[in-house]
């Protein structure tokens, strides 16, 4: 054998190439039975997986009692929204679908103008691709429509689809100069829809998926400005220093903790009188450390304190505090805020801290040369930030922000548990307490339905965000 390798006069004819694996037998061999170990794993895993699917299939199609979901579908979708005003929800759905289509059309046209669009693809193929891409959403809509008993929801779905198509065609006609009106519409239309939907009875009757979506959208939308401000504040005037964060939080904690542990009977004025000098000393240290390398240490300290506080605390606890305590922080002459307002305030404050960290990551990913170029052009700091830094940074972190929106959407379930809203998960709780369904162990059906709806929403958003990430080339450039 070694002669073949070492003796240059022996010529070994090259082997003919192995035939390409095509048939199913080859696929099986490559993917499931590649080696002895692989075969054993396959033989162990296959029956287990088959059993799980069998049990699941049996539950979904045969033994599950789904009438608890069918009878209460409206409750799951919109909570206790007055039933004769549901047309407003339909209008809102249509408006959102139309705006989405408009945006898609406009983006496509901008891409075509910039030469970034791919080759023209026949319409049938495009529809097919869209179906494959959105299969969880289509499955969810199909399941929902299968559970309805009236033609209303199907008509609304068709109308929304039509609105989306019309929006898409319209959007393709709008060129570059329509960008500003479209963005403005993106802010005005939601406000108008909220006004439309709260006309009959205000917020407190909202429930179901509608409430979850609203809380998540309001949370992200309102927290965005605050988050950006905090991120800019954290980076104010110099490079970041994680030591500052540690010192600040340690000082903010050490004072009260020590006081509470040692002198529990002290009331708050005394706590403050002990804690303030400690706090001042700590801030002086932190300020001195940062002051050497920055021009705005106090702003940075305030931002860091806010961010580290809200990121170290569970949302569930904050919601409980907001529910019980928010009224105490407002003057007693003011009207006590509604439940939805309290929840939105807590979600906004909480999400702002996470958005701040995401945007900070985006700001850090920008080369310093961008800021320096702006300064070389004589732009003020505000203009450099607004025209050069922020647009690039925000574009880079869009996928992360969508991820945060998905998290927030899932976290809106906490509002139901902490405050008692009839949001989607809480509805599952409520319907199993109804008279005709009580004590029959129907939790599994209700919860499975709710989880399925959440899964549809979250995986659709998550896949679109991944697709956007790939198209933007984040992480590869």
């Amino acid at each position: 054998m070694s002669d073949v390798l070492l003796d240059p006069t022996i010529i070994v004819p090259p082997e003919p190439p192995r035939p390409a694996a095509t048939g199913p037998g080859d696929w099986l061999r490559r993917n499931l039975f590649r080696s002895v170990g692989d075969t054993i794993v396959t033989l162990l895993a296959a029956p287990l997986i088959g059993y799980v699917f069998y049990r699941l299939g049996r539950f979904v199609f045969a033994s599950g009692r789904w009438d608890i979901v069918e009878d209460n579908l409206a409750l799951f979708m919109v909570g206790r929204y007055p039933r004769d005003e549901l047309w407003r929800v339909g209008v809102a759905l249509g408006a959102i679908a139309a705006y989405g289509g408009l945006l898609a059309g406009h983006v496509h046209r901008r891409q075509v103008e910039a030469g970034r669009a791919g080759p023209a693809v026949p319409m049938a193929r495009r529809v097919g691709d869209l179906v494959v891409r959105m299969w969880p959403l289509l499955l969810g809509v199909a399941v929902l429509l299968a559970l309805t008993s009236t033609p209303g929801p199907s008509l609304v779905t068709l109308a929304a689809l039509a609105a989306a198509l019309i929006g898409r065609l319209l959007g393709a006609l709008l060129g570059r100069r329509w960008l500003l009106p479209i963005v403005v519409a993106g802010i005005v239309v939601p406000i108008a829809l909220v006004w439309l939907l709260t006309r009959p009875a205000g917020w407190d009757d909202w429930g179901g998926v509608m409430l979850n979506l609203f809380l998540a959208a309001a949370g992200i939308g309102l927290s965005f400005p605050l988050g950006v401000v905090l991120a800019l504040g954290r980076r104010a005037g110099g490079r970041t220093d994680s030591f500052v964060g540690g010192v600040i939080v340690a000082v903010l904690l050490a004072g009260p903790v020590v006081v509470v542990l040692v002198r529990r009977r002290f009331d708050v004025e005394s706590v403050v009188s002990w804690a303030l000098p400690l706090l001042a000393a700590g801030l002086a240290i932190a300020g001195y450390r940062t002051g050497r390398r920055s021009t705005l240490p106090l702003v940075r300290i305030v931002s860091v304190a806010y961010i580290e506080f809200f990121r170290g605390v569970p949302l569930y606890v904050l919601l409980g505090l907001g529910y019980l305590g928010l009224r105490r922080f407002l003057p007693s002459s003011a009207e006590p805020p509604g439940l939805v307002v309290r929840a939105t305030v807590v979600f906004t404050l909480f999400t702002a801290a996470y958005i701040a960290e995401i945007v900070r990551g985006g700001l850090q990913s920008l080369p310093r040369g961008q800021t320096e170029a702006g300064q070389a052009l004589g732009l003020t700091a505000v203009r450099v930030t607004g025209f050069i830094v922020l647009p690039q940074a925000l574009r880079n972190v869009i996928p992360a922000i969508v991820g945060q929106f998905i998290s927030l959407f899932k976290d809106t379930t906490l509002a139901g548990a902490a405050i008692g809203f009839l949001e989607l998960l809480n509805v599952a709780d409520a319907v199993t307490a109804q008279e005709q369904f009580r004590a029959q162990g129907l939790f599994a059906e209700a919860l499975t339905f709710v989880m399925f709806l959440f899964w549809v929403g979250c995986i659709t958003m998550s896949r679109e965000s991944q697709r956007l990430e790939r198209k933007l080339g984040v992480g590869t450039r």
Binding site: L32, L253, P256, R265, V313, F329, F443
Partner: protein, 404 residues
């Protein structure tokens, strides 16, 4: 402008910067002071105390999982008990989630289609579902729904041969009961008996022995060129040390026993604890799986190819080349997941597991003032988060690439 002459104060950037900051701080302080003032006024008007004296008041509620706690004990004692529960949940959760998450992450990279797809379906499902939903499903549909009644408990037991020969001490190594008992009223798993400190010392001794043995084997491998097999020898050393210390110190274990309708012995877990643990582990492990997968894929392909070019085996390639680099990438996000798990343990309050959030809610229902109670709760979570972050940062710094 002549060199060295500073502009007048109203145009000097540094003065303006300070004025801006002071204005920002003044606004923040004003807002905080206004909120504070409202709190004081409202609390005085309704005669609600704002001090922390409620911590000394009797609790007024029992803690279900801890029958030793009496209602007359102060709230602070209840909080300490609850903190112990939270830590039990968090620590067990972190350990199990890491193990399961790593296995899943590796399964996601397997070339076996079944294993890969099964892991993918699991991860893509669990990641896109709210934790509270998982928690409720585990509690209502599984632990309370599927677990059997006490008289029909699921028992996990092993048949071990009896050790009759040798000194009497050796009998303590024998399994006298089942390893685990699970039913709808509570579950129990085999555990050690004795002071926690002794157990910690045994663990430390075993770890030290493992490290020393591994070092010796590697030294020997360098000297003689024969395979080190340091992992194998270290594992043997751990087993040896644990067995020897067990016998010498006379440690014992407690096995679960079904006592009528209750389960005693071993380490008992209430249904709420089991459900919360399972939900947290399942949820967090799916995130950790994605992180592990991403970090292994983020190691440049050239590293693996270079390892192949050096004729390293598959295992060697993973262990010596890919995994060390992957761990460096993965550690900060995994640390973040640990923090999330610790904070998500607060959700166990929804299924009435007596951890700190639930105890705070109970004490508020028993007339403790809301704002100071929540303040204490928030401080506890902040301290927990800080401690966990500090540990993770320490590990991070040790692993970080030392750049020249």
């Amino acid at each position: 402008m002549a060199a060295g002459r500073r502009p007048p104060p109203w145009r000097d950037v540094r003065t303006l910067a300070w004025i801006f900051q002071l204005a920002v701080v003044a606004v923040v302080v004003a807002v905080v002071a206004w909120l504070w003032n409202n709190l004081q006024v409202n609390s005085d008007r309704q005669n609600i105390p704002t001090d922390f004296g409620y911590l000394d008041q009797p609790a007024g509620f029992p803690i279900p999982s801890n029958p030793g706690f009496r209602q007359t004990q102060p709230v602070s004692a209840a909080l300490l008990e609850a903190l112990r529960n939270t830590l039990r949940l968090a620590v067990a959760g972190i350990v199990l989630a890491t193990v399961l998450g790593t296995l899943l992450g590796i399964a996601r990279l397997s070339r076996n289609f079944l294993v890969n797809k099964a892991a993918q379906v699991y991860v893509e499902f669990v990641r896109n579902v709210p934790l509270l939903g998982l928690l409720l499903i585990f509690y209502t549909a599984i632990v309370l729904g599927m677990f059997p009644r006490p008289d029909e408990s699921w028992v996990l037991a092993l048949e071990t041969p009896k050790i009759d020969v040798g000194p009497v001490h050796l009998r303590s190594l024998e399994l006298t009961g089942p390893i685990g008992v699970f039913n709808v009223r509570g579950s129990s798993v085999l555990w050690y008996e004795g002071r926690n400190l002794v157990f910690v010392l045994v663990v430390v001794a075993a770890a030290l022995a493992a490290w020393l043995v591994a070092r010796w084997r590697r030294y020997r491998a360098d000297r003689t060129g024969r395979p080190a097999r340091s992992g194998l020898y270290a594992a043997l050393a751990v087993v040896l040390v644990v067995v020897v210390l067990w016998l010498v110190l006379g440690l014992g274990g407690t096995a679960p026993l079904i006592d009528g309708r209750r389960v005693t012995g071993g380490i008992t877990m209430t249904p709420a604890y089991l459900a919360a643990l399972l939900a947290l582990v399942v949820y967090t492990s799916s995130h950790i799986a994605e992180i592990v997968r991403g970090s292994i894929q983020a190691v440049p392909r050239g590293q693996g190819e270079a390892a192949n070019a050096l004729a390293l085996s598959g295992f060697q390639r993973m262990w010596y080349v890919v995994l060390p680099q992957a761990m460096r990438i993965a550690l900060p996000p995994i640390g973040n997941q640990y923090l999330n798990l610790a904070k998500n343990s607060s959700l166990a309050a929804v299924i009435s597991f007596p951890e700190i959030t639930k105890i705070t809610e109970l004490s508020i229902a028993n007339r403790s003032p809301a704002v100071p109670s929540y303040t204490v709760l928030l401080m506890i979570y902040l301290v927990l988060s800080l401690a966990l972050s500090a540990i993770v940062n320490l590990a991070n710094r040790r692993l970080a690439i030392v750049e020249r």
